[in-house]
């Protein structure tokens, strides 16, 4: 059933938006407040500028190869054996990312909302929905994204707008007190969660999207809007809660929604942010999982990726139970290994593709 599926450009842009804000809306503010202190919001701005360049670079690759996905590209550029090894690394990357994202949502639910529930069962329930979505195909997930996107935007807007009265700009003074090095470090961390994993969308974009009118502008705008959402989340959490308080919490946006109080009328709306987060996580997890499953089915040359969905889904559940032994391990690993691991796939690997393409073009000419 390869090649028959098709999504339109708007659905892809929604994927991009939901993928970028996916986990980072809850995780970024805490780590950024830890790394860049008062300049956390500045880190996101720097990250956005670098991110736009990276997105345009990805677009360039997709323009060079309009009907290849990652697996085809690997086979074309690096040959059968080396290409297959690269693809296997890519599959491992997608699976590990999916498992860590699944662990994050499970940990969030257990620590913040469902205290009495064992964590494995939240993983299982959440992953079964994702497996069913991927089993039904990328078109179904795309249509679901169109359906649920307004809710995500509406709920996030409610939280952001209602927190404006309690903002206090004195909490992020002094401006620019921290060195440029730490700001770039924070930007890198933010990019490693939101932008570098966008490489996974290469399993969807050039091959499954047919209409490609003024893609560059639209993709850039979607990306900037998503980063602005993260910027708003970071800025509001640091100004409302203060830098120290923000980085003591793992999920500061959730705490922000808890403290929100409009004249005693609207309060305790943290479930709103939990719902919007569950929706965005669903799409991020689905796209990671879809990329892993389709890439593996192409490598193994099976008839349809649907037959591999359920076993690999169980594999992701198992992996999510063992990847992070504790939340301390998780934040340590994210800040010491994940930033390089995702940069390998988000920066080095596209560069390698670009160099290989240039060499190919030179040889063709001569």
């Amino acid at each position: 059933m390869h090649g028959k599926e098709e999504i339109n450009l708007r659905q892809f842009l929604l994927f991009l938006f939901l993928f970028v804000i996916g986990t980072s809306i809850l995780l970024s503010p805490s780590s950024l407040a830890n790394i860049a202190k008062e300049s956390a919001w500045l880190s996101v701005v720097v990250g956005m500028m670098i991110g736009v360049a990276i997105i345009l670079f990805y677009l360039l690759i997709s323009i060079w190869y309009p009907d290849h996905n990652i697996v085809d590209l690997n086979r074309l550029l690096f040959g059968k054996w080396v290409g297959t090894i690269f693809t296997l690394f890519f599959i491992v990357f997608a699976l590990v990312s999916a498992a860590t994202v699944l662990w994050t949502i499970g940990h969030f639910m257990v620590t913040q909302m469902l205290h009495e529930t064992p964590q494995p069962f939240i993983h299982i329930l959440f992953m079964f929905v994702v497996i069913y979505g991927v089993y039904l195909g990328i078109e179904t997930i795309a249509r679901t994204s169109e359906l649920l996107f307004p809710y995500v935007v509406l709920l996030l807007t409610i939280v952001f707008v209602f927190s404006i009265p309690s903002m206090n700009l004195n909490k992020i003074k002094p401006f620019f007190d921290i060195g440029a090095q730490d700001i770039v470090k924070g930007a890198w961390f933010d990019l490693s969660i939101s932008t570098f994993p966008l490489m996974v969308l290469f399993m969807v974009y050039p091959k499954l999207v047919q209409e490609k009118k003024s893609v560059g502008k639209k993709v850039t705008i979607a990306y900037i809007l998503a980063m602005l959402t993260i910027l708003a989340a970071t800025f509001i959490t640091t100004t409302v809660l203060g830098v120290e308080y923000t980085h003591h919490h793992i999920y500061p946006t959730y705490v922000l929604a808890k403290t929100l109080n409009i004249e005693g009328l609207i309060q305790r709306i943290e479930v709103i942010i939990a719902v919007s987060w569950i929706l965005t996580i669903f799409f991020k997890l689905s796209l990671y999982f879809y990329a892993a499953v389709t890439a593996l089915s192409q490598v193994l040359k099976v008839n349809s990726y649907r037959s591999l969905t359920f076993p690999l889904g169980i594999f992701v559940i198992v992996l999510s139970l063992i990847v992070y032994p504790s939340s301390i391990y998780a934040s340590e690993w994210n800040q010491t290994t994940w930033i390089y691991y995702s940069a390998t796939f988000g920066v080095l690997y596209p560069l390698l593709i670009a160099i290989a393409t240039l060499i190919r073009k030179l040889f063709k000419r001569s």
Binding site: V96, K301, F310, P311, T337
Partner: protein
């Protein structure tokens, strides 16, 4: 609870493998059984509390020199 989970997994697998077998997709059903066997083995091992090597530790070992380079 875990019994229910294993029951659900095995019954879904049974239905899907039978469907694949009826379409005579031998390659598909072989990879289905292989991946499912692997996943279930690791799941049962982690249920029994046996130490399973964490893939993230392996990735950490590879990227440790890079991290110390940037510090």
């Amino acid at each position: 609870m875990w019994v229910i989970l294993y029951g659900v997994i095995l019954s879904i697998s049974w239905i899907q493998i039978r469907a694949l077998w009826k379409q005579s997709l031998k390659r598909d059903s072989f990879f289905y059984i292989f991946t499912m066997g692997l996943s279930l083995t690791i799941l049962i091992l982690s249920q029994l509390g046996l130490p399973i090597p964490n893939p993230l530790d392996g990735i950490s070992i590879v990227y440790d020199p890079v991290h110390s380079l940037f510090q």
